[in-house]
């Protein structure tokens, strides 16, 4: 936690309300996100119990597995989920725009520009909490190697037709969510915690109900009181008033309500199977429907509050203006979405179980690069984030007190003006350190010359008021002429902000192509065309 965030948390403690830690919204929010509120069965690896899902806050679809240990019922759930998620995703695959991309020409080996399709927009999946993101990934993993009857007529338990495809998409969403700054799959708790500091710890912020209670408590109630109730208050039956955002359920709910309802469902099912004539079967079918309805009601009662909380959180976030670089990062998400669309259309096999060494290293490098990009962009978009970087000595802001024209040496002297900035900040400037400021959205570089004193170059704080004078030499973005273009050099009296970090991230580390993986790192991946084997099945397997 940076000191500024700690301070914001402590202010929240004393005021009883969350305090902002961002002044703009740093993530893209779709006009039409697909909200997914899943529940899972305790102790089973990713056996879904049910979910609310949909794009209409007033009309979520309720999907329920009345007996989570029953494979057919689980498949029915996944098939229904596929029928909601896939059309939603498909709606974004067709509208494209032309975009340029640099590729290596396979014949000449040269870098050339090619025009390709880029999906004009992309789907966005919203889950309540980080555990929901993991669950999406887990569901994806559990489905993508399934075989349908069409793919393999001999498969013992064929999956419904579109389930493996859903698995591939959920896997893609889950993987993309690991990329810093991406917005294809987001957890509302992460989103809210990025923008507000509560008076509780980050562990407690994982609870959507209590997080919201700090940010927007009902009425005038202090946030801590509301948060405490959201987290712990139970009804006379011992049930939490605010059910956890899942996918895990509260043990008291499992033991007192869910287990008896599932048992009743099992009994009704066996009774129906044992019915001796049509009349009896009719009766028992009615009992089975009622038992199933009971489980459905229970699942809805535990997901609906979370569903509403998710939309409440989205309302709060939408009220923040979007950060200037957010569309740029969303474009990267659109590229990622388009690329996955293309892999599926090209008939490529599902994502492997474990990445080969080069892919893994590439992903890691990409994540580091995106993290640096995100950090830089958030700071440029948001003075409150920049304040944190300034406090850390990674940026400084102040007023220009002097500009002296100077030129580079050489055949064609170019402008290299010396700019003095008076700042209260304490940047960690090394000798000839490069610094950058944003000029019309592009970084302009300068180099640290020294600290100015009253009489020329000196060190420290000439006026003894905590301000230092930093002398910089501006290096670029001043045009081709001998005189700098108008507006390209700061003027006396201007407020400026320079960063010690770069604004743009260039391509990642050079790694070999996957085909040239050294054997020390596992060697090249196997035949890319090879279709991975499905998971083995056992009688008791869960998904």
């Amino acid at each position: 936690m940076s000191l500024i965030t700690t301070l914001a948390r402590l202010e929240a403690v004393s005021s009883g309300r969350a305090r902002p830690v961002a002044t703009v919204r740093h993530r893209h929010l779709s006009e039409r996100p697909l909200v997914f509120v899943p529940l899972t069965t305790a102790g089973e690896a990713g056996a879904p119990l049910g979910a609310l899902v949909g794009t209409d806050r007033h009309a979520p679809r309720l999907l329920v597995v009345p007996q989570p240990r029953d494979r057919d019922l689980r498949f029915a759930f996944l098939a229904e989920l596929a029928d909601i998620v896939l059309p939603y995703v498909d709606a974004y695959t067709d509208t494209v725009e032309a975009a340029e991309r640099t590729e290596t020409d396979p014949e000449t080996g040269k870098r050339v520009k090619v025009v390709v399709d880029l999906c004009a927009d992309a789907p966005q999946l919203i889950v309540p909490s980080r555990a929901g993101v993991d669950f999406v990934r887990l569901l994806g993993r559990s489905m993508r190697f399934r075989r349908t009857a069409e793919q393999d007529p001999d498969t013992p338990h064929p999956a419904p037709p579109r389930v493996p495809l859903l698995g591939r998409w959920l896997t893609h969403f889950g993987e993309r969510a690991r990329m810093p700054g991406s917005s294809l799959l987001l957890a509302v708790t992460d989103l809210l915690a990025r923008h507000w500091a509560t008076g509780q710890s980050s562990v407690e912020d994982q609870h959507l109900g209590s997080l919201l209670a700090w940010i927007d408590p009902p009425g005038d109630e202090p946030g801590d009181v509301a948060a405490h109730r959201a987290e712990l208050a139970r009804d006379a039956d011992g049930q939490l008033l605010c059910p956890p955002a899942g996918p895990a359920t509260d043990p008291a709910f499992d033991n007192k309500l869910l287990a008896p309802a599932i048992e009743a469902y099992d009994r009704a099912r066996s009774a129906l199977a044992a019915a001796e004539d049509g009349l009896e079967a009719d009766d028992r079918f009615g009992a089975l429907t009622a038992a199933e309805q009971r489980v459905r009601d229970l699942v809805e009662s535990r997901t609906r509050p979370t569903w509403d909380a998710v939309w409440h959180g989205l309302d709060l976030l939408r009220a923040l203006p979007e950060g200037a670089h957010v569309p740029d990062r969303w474009t990267r998400d659109r590229w990622s979405f388009t690329a996955h669309r293309d892999r599926i259309t090209a008939g490529e096999p599902p994502q492997p179980r474990v990445d080969d060494a080069v892919t893994a290293a590439n992903k890691l490098a990409a994540r580091e690069r995106e993290q640096a990009r995100l950090d830089a962009q958030e700071a440029l978009d948001d003075p409150l984030v920049m304040a944190g970087r300034r406090l850390a000595g990674e940026a400084f802001a102040g007023e220009v007190t002097d500009v002296v024209m100077a030129y580079s040496e050489g055949r064609r002297p170019s402008p290299r003006p010396l700019v003095t900035v008076r700042t209260e900040d304490l940047p960690h400037l090394g000798e000839r350190a490069k610094v950058y400021r944003s000029l019309g959205g592009k970084p302009q570089a300068a180099e640290f010359v020294g600290h100015a004193g009253r009489d020329g170059i000196g060190t420290g704080d000439p006026d003894g008021d905590g301000n230092v004078l930093v002398v910089l030499r501006v290096l670029d973005k001043m045009g081709r002429g001998k005189e700098p273009e108008p507006g390209s050099v700061p003027e006396k009296g201007d407020r400026v902000c320079f960063t010690l970090f770069e604004h743009d991230q260039r391509g990642g580390a050079k790694l070999p192509d996957p085909e040239e993986t050294p054997w020390t790192h596992g060697g090249p991946p196997g035949d890319p065309e090879a279709v991975p084997l499905p998971d083995p099945l056992t009688e008791e397997d869960v998904l």
């Binding site: 993993r141 509403d308 304040a387």
Partner: protein, 406 residues
Amino acid sequence: MPPPRTRETAPALRHRLAELRGPDVPAKALDARALAALAANPGCRRRALLDGAGVNKTELASALGSPSAFGQSQFAFMRGDAFEARVKADGGTELLRLVHERLDPSAEPPSGAHVPDLAAAGPEGRTARTELALREATESGGWTLLDHPMLALDVAGSPAFLEPDAVVVHPDGTWTVVEIKSFPMLDGAADPAKVGAAARQSAVYVLALEDAAARVDPVPQVRHRVLLVCPKDFTNLPTAAAVDVRKQRAVTRRQLTRLTRIEEIADALPEGTCFAPDLPQERLTAAVELLPATYAPECLAACELAFHCRARSRAAAEVTSVGRSARAELGGLTTVGDVLAAAHGTAGDPADPAVAALRRAARLRAEALASAGYGARDEVLVDGEVPAGAESQDMAGASAGGAPCH
């Protein structure tokens, strides 16, 4: 055969601890999970004493009006049991196969391994029985599986009895701790947080097993790689991984020795102090208050008293209630009021680097908020509120109809 070292607590202390627990309240045994958690917050005297005295903290928390939230779903419980039974079925064939394959492939393959009966009366009896079985197995030169053995570990002067899922004695006379968990190993990897917790727990067993080994001559080697058995992918089939617990073992050992001796803490309590759960809430609160605590949010995952201690910590406006790291950044300032006063310039010595940093942070924060059009510090508390006019029918409807948590 030398008798196992008895870890009898001195009678006077035992008597004192029984008094603290309350008349006729049985002592609650410490398990490895509690011990691993104890080591996670070794500075907490409150926890050290209550655990050491065998106070049932779950009951105490309820009696204090802040019941703990730890509970297990019967679904998880049933699945865990079914999985463990499956792993140990058939004389532990599958389990021993995994130990052989993952830890000791050069040994003879286990077949017809010995599975001694460890039943005995009481934890002391079971511990003695286990130690006897371990000794015999080590001499036998074959594979032996000890199913739910009982081990004793000295914790801050009192014995804790521990029951690992299994211990395997190898043909070369070395001993291995086996931990069976029902979280899946998916594509060869399991949730690192859960593996970490299992490793810390296993490290406690390794320490206890080493104590038992020290009483055998020659001293057998306790392996520092334990076997973690989990369901494979989405199935109920076991798979296993060797987990090196050297680090956790060293940490736990160090923490255990650092645990303040219970005796000392007990001596500091006034005569008549008692933690019996049937006492009135105010008396219990006062009694618990006599024990110095070091609450941090990490307690929430580790200690039954967390909600009680959190409430006290918040009531005292301790900065650590928002995170342990807050403490480190703030130098000597420990309460929210002190920090804010220092930050806003109404108190504190500006020459103190922590105070100076806070002032800079407060100034930068206020400046940034102001530049973004946010009002003064006290005016606008929540800026994410939907501006008037943006509140559509939709939203009003949603918050009215959808706020059962409120």
